[in-house]
Symmetry: C2
Subunit: 174 residues, 2 copies
C-alpha cells in the first residue's frame, strides 16, 4: 500500500475512540498491569501517546516545513509519561489524548500539504534523513502498533488462566 | 490476574464496539489486505470472530454444562470465514458480530454461573481436558489477540512507507 494522506488520517482520527471503547472505565487489573520490568501498561501507553501529541509528530512536521537552518529533531523521551501522567486517572488521559489529537489533526489539515511537501526532509538524531511522508506513515503505524501492544499486554494478564489453550495463543509467549 | 467472570465480560462486551470504531467505513486497502499467503485480513478476522460466536464459545459452554455422556468438542474450523463471509461487506460483518455477541453475552449472563460450574470440564479434541473457566478466559484472550492481529496487519501495509523508522517498529517485522 502506497502512502496516502487521507488514508493515514483515517487511522489517526480513529485511535482516540478505539482506545476509549477499549479502556473507558475498565477494571484496574486490565489497565494498570504491564509485561514486567519497565514495560508499559495500557495506562502508560495512553500517556505515551499524549506525550507524542505534545512533543513529537506535529512539532517535527512543523520543523520539516520550516525554513530553519538546523532541521534536527529533538530526541523523543519514551519514558516521559511515567512522570507526566502522575495524579491523572485513565479516563482523564483518554480525554486529554482525544482533545490533543483533534487539535493536531485540525492543524495537519490546515497545512493543505502537497506532494512536494511530503518529500521535504529533516534529520532524525539517530536515524538520519527522513521525509515528511515517512513521518506521517510512522505516526499512523505508531498508533496501530500501540493498540496492538495494549491488547497484547491485556492478553497476558490471563496467561495462566487459559490453561492448555496457550498452545494456540502465540501472543501470550511473545 | 486471577480469572473473574465479570472482568472477562468487560472484555467480551467491548470487542464489537472497538472493532466498529477501528474498521467501520475504512478504506479497503486497510480492511482487505493481509500478511501474505492464507493469513487473515481485518475483514477475515471479523468473519472468524462471527464463526466463533456461532459454533465455538457458547456451544462449548453448553456442552460443558450439559449431562451428555460424550463431552468432546467439535473441532473448530479456522478457515470457515473464507466461505461464510462471501458476498458480505465489512460493515455487514461488524453488525452481525455485534448482534451475535450481544445474544451470546445475554445467554452467558442467564446461566448465573457459580464457582463450581467454572470447574466443570470437557474434552478438547487436541488439547484434552479443559475447564469452563479456561474456556471463558480463552474467549477473552482470543478477542484481544485478534484486535492485536488486526492492528498488526494494518501496520504492515505501511511497512515500506515508514522508511528508516522501521528500526523502532518491531511489529513490522514480526
Amino acid at each position: 500500500m502506497e502512502f496516502n494522506l487521507v488514508k493515514s488520517i483515517e487511522i489517526l482520527e480513529r485511535t482516540p475512540s478505539v482506545l476509549e471503547h477499549l479502556l473507558h472505565n475498565i477494571s484496574p487489573e486490565w489497565a494498570m498491569s504491564n509485561e514486567g520490568g519497565d514495560s508499559f501498561s495500557p495506562y502508560d501507553v495512553v500517556g505515551h501517546l499524549i506525550h507524542g501529541e505534545k512533543t513529537d509528530w506535529m512539532v517535527r512536521l512543523e520543523l520539516i516545513l520550516s525554513d530553519k537552518a538546523d532541521k534536527t529533531f529533538q530526541p523523543y523521551d519514551r519514558f516521559a509519561q511515567f512522570a507526566e501522567s502522575k495524579g491523572k486517572n485513565l479516563d482523564q488521559l483518554l480525554t486529554e489524548f482525544k482533545t490533543l489529537r483533534e487539535k493536531n489533526l485540525a492543524l495537519l489539515q490546515s497545512k493543505k500539504l502537497q506532494e512536494k511537501d511530503l518529500l521535504k526532509t529533516a534529520t532524525h538524531p539517530a536515524l538520519g534523513s527522513v521525509t515528511l511522508r515517512q513521518l506521517l506513515a510512522t505516526w499512523a503505524v505508531h498508533d496501530l502498533s500501540h493498540i496492538a501492544q495494549i491488547t497484547r499486554v491485556m492478553c497476558k494478564q490471563y496467561k495462566e488462566e487459559v490453561g492448555p489453550w496457550i498452545t494456540y495463543l502465540p501472543i501470550l509467549t511473545r
